[in-house]
Symmetry: C2
Subunit: 486 residues, 2 copies
């Protein structure tokens, strides 16, 4: 979930100076129109300790019109607050129509902290997230614009900030800060759960990389400006948030496509992992753990080849491969998830989906087969679906097979020439190719919103087929190692 | 919540014979149009054991076109089902577009039963209700019409049915049935929680009195016909369910307005309860329990008088009375619940609302100040609000002061004559009077949907002022007795 905020994005002083006047104008104009339209705005600042949210607050107070802006911090509970229900403090600070409230800390703070330090059990935590969802939905139903910003730092970046503060010798919260750095992984896991459960179509989370302060503040401001501007656009179907501007860097850019594997190591590794997998699937059967593997990727990225390397090593009684093409009449007559539920394996068995439910937010989004409100709420629907699988004990792995556009072109041309591959290339493939950047954005959003601890995405470097296949096999066997134990 | 299904409603053989052809025609026509429109329909049959849902199934199969109808029972888990996530069995039975699935038992069955027999803890139960809500919302977003029918029997009626079955000597589930009768109260409490948490504007529950089979079947059929017909009406704002036909009997009809109290008993009882209350509020202060009392009722029903009888006996430092009239400018600029959150008492203190948030589903509904989607989702919003109060330890009591229209007329005329009461009667009061039956329905719906174990409504018989005031005082002191202990 936080992968999209570890791309090491930076903005130089010069670029910042150039872009600042423009974003300030946009913010002020949007704010003025919001004020006239009488819409209440909540800006929630959350994130990793050390991301310097107070720096963001300062900047926003500088850039926005202070007459319609109030900042609220929730770091110390007053007597008055302690003696009333938890949400009373937030109702007190609710902005009036046309006003903006910046909330430094929010209804997320207490549940996340209590869960990290184990003062709250898992079910109570999940319930408090549901309460948050209900609360936010109620406000959204009443035209509140809720902009939820999550500022992320990698573990290393957090350590650096800690050192920085120490040198400056000025942090009043240094002890808490240290405590947090210690609990970094746990904090991130808990936060991921919180974000995933509350990332809805009408109240989405925006994850912002906070390593570079200029990038952080400009990105935050752009998201705010964009959300305000689109909230003013009418008519818009209920609950649709128009897409954000394409990020300068996306997740796929982080994949090192130059990686490859010499032929002899390939044969050796293939043998090794296939042998291991052949054993593991019987172990899984014994332990009644079912496995779902899901493959998405560019046309000609090698999904079929990767899947075959897996099935070669598994007893045919244990698995099914479900190729997902255009839905049948019967499938079309049902909810779009129905066709995937059909093939959910029984305990101990394996289902491999060659393409999957993610078509909803890939091809259906890009080609306009699904309306914006449909694909936007699909992220939550798919997370909910996968949560049901993993809670029932399913091992779920998701692969995106990545190649460069140049490599794709090479393979397309090959296919046209080689007789037994000719059937694999169609007019549609060429058409899809033209929409490369639209797909790239869709993949980026998909992975940001649905890669979770219990159902992670793995990006496979597929330019070199051997390398890609081994990466897939290794990911599967490593995961089964961890899951099945000895 | 189930009060509305204990009004002893019956339909005679003659009436049934007369109405049957009409409802069958309506059902078939609606079903045909639904089939053409390609909308999937789910009819969930739930309720108290002994309500004879299989009788309803038989009738529906007779009345609806069987070509587009399938009935699914979920009473025994198969191997196949046990080895997959819980919802797999329901996805299997999901109707295709244009088809109708009658679900005898549903996703509600297991959580309710597990909670009643204590195989599931409270938090897990609440979470499973949230999962249900998410699941149903997902289907509704995809145009599924979900008709949730709850068949209710009073405890006595259930006992009668048990005896009936015994005499017939034919019940295969007699043992389970007996077990249920034993757990009647617990079952009802758990079910109330389930219904309250999942009674949303787009997927509402319909509670049906099942004591008389003819009434039960006709009512069920009418609800189904109505839901199908309104689903076909376009355009309709998302999530709005048009109101059901006015019930023949409503909750207010059950109030015995002839009850009264002679003057001397009144004085004696008043003294007794006021003395008791004066003590109890200090006890509550000691225990840091806060108290919220809320009064709604017809114009001139005696809200002010009843409130004064309470405040007379309480130390002035402990309570606030909040008269709720038209909202201030500042209040108007916020969410409608904001003005009520403002006055939530601290631990140990008391807030008395003279009129309340229920204005949303009373005057705002009847006068059209709130849109249909707004007041329909308000029931959930208010339940959620009150749940936050009671979970934080608040004692919450809600009173509806009832009088007959004749009594109101008498009091209005009095007010016009007596100089010091003249200011209390306005043009508006006379106008409201003309909408008596619209208000009656709104009150009926309000109480059905928001009277809960932890925040119950009490209907006060107010034709005799003395009687009403004592009833209020007694309800408050009795509740505090139970809540505060010794």
């Amino acid at each position: 979930m936080f992968e999209s905020a570890e791309l090491d994005q930076k903005i130089s002083k010069e670029e910042f100076a150039r872009r600042e006047p423009e974003i300030r104008t946009r913010l002020l104009q949007a704010q003025q129109r919001i004020q006239k339209a009488g819409l209440p705005v909540l800006i929630l600042l959350a994130g990793v300790e050390g991301a310097d949210r107070s720096g963001v607050v300062k900047r926003l107070n500088e850039w926005l019109d202070p007459r319609y802006l109030r900042t609220h911090a929730f770091w110390d509970e007053t007597d008055e607050e302690r003696q009333r229900p938890y949400y009373w403090r937030f109702w007190r600070c609710l902005p009036a129509r046309g006003e903006t409230a910046i909330m430094f800390g929010s209804w997320y703070t207490r549940p996340i902290i209590d869960r990290v330090f184990d003062h709250m059990d898992d079910n109570t935590f999940e319930l408090s997230l549901q309460t948050i969802k209900t609360h936010e939905q109620m406000l959204a139903d009443d035209n509140h614009i809720i902009i939820k910003l999550w500022f992320h730092l990698s573990s290393n970046q957090q350590q650096e900030r800690l050192a920085e503060k120490k040198r400056a010798g000025k942090s009043p919260t240094a002890s808490l800060f240290k405590k947090f750095a210690k609990h970094y992984v746990n904090f991130l896991n808990v936060s991921e759960r919180a974000l995933r459960s509350t990332d809805t179509a009408s109240n989405p989370w925006h994850i912002i990389e906070a390593g570079n302060r200029r990038f952080r503040d400009l990105t935050a401001a752009e998201i705010i400006a964009h959300r305000l501007e689109t909230a003013l656009e009418k008519p818009r179907p209920a609950g649709v948030v128009s897409t954000l501007p394409t990020p300068a860097k996306n997740l796929l850019m982080g994949v090192d496509l130059s990686q490859s594997l010499p032929a002899d190591s390939y044969v050796e590794l293939l043998k090794k992992y296939q042998k291991k997998l052949a054993k593991q699937v019987w172990q899984a059967k014994d332990q009644a753990r079912d496995i779902v593997l899901l493959f998405e990727g560019w046309d000609a990225a090698g999904k079929g080849g990767a899947i075959r390397r897996i099935t070669q090593s598994i007893d045919a009684r244990l698995y099914k491969v479900i190729p997902v093409a255009a839905p049948s009449d019967e499938e079309k007559a049902h909810h779009y998830l129905w066709r995937f539920w059909r093939h959910i394996p029984r305990n101990g068995y394996i289902t491999i989906y060659d393409r999957s439910w993610y078509g909803r937010v890939l091809v259906e989004r890009v080609e306009g087969f699904a309306r914006a409100d449909e694909w936007q709420r699909a992220y939550q629907e798919m997370n909910h679906f996968e949560q049901q699988l993993t809670q029932a004990g399913t091992v779920l792995l998701k692969f995106w097979l990545h190649i460069s556009p140049e490599e794709q072109l090479k393979r397309f041309k090959e296919r046209e020439v080689i007789p037994w591959k000719k059937h694999k290339i169609t007019e549609e493939d060429w058409r899809n190719r033209e929409k490369w950047s639209a797909y790239e954005l869709a993949v980026h959003d998909m992975i940001s919103k649905t890669s979770t601890q219990s159902a992670p995405w793995t990006l496979i470097a597929g330019n070199n087929k051997s390398f890609g296949r081994i990466q897939v096999l290794q990911t599967v066997t490593d995961t089964l190692d961890r899951t099945l134990g000895d």
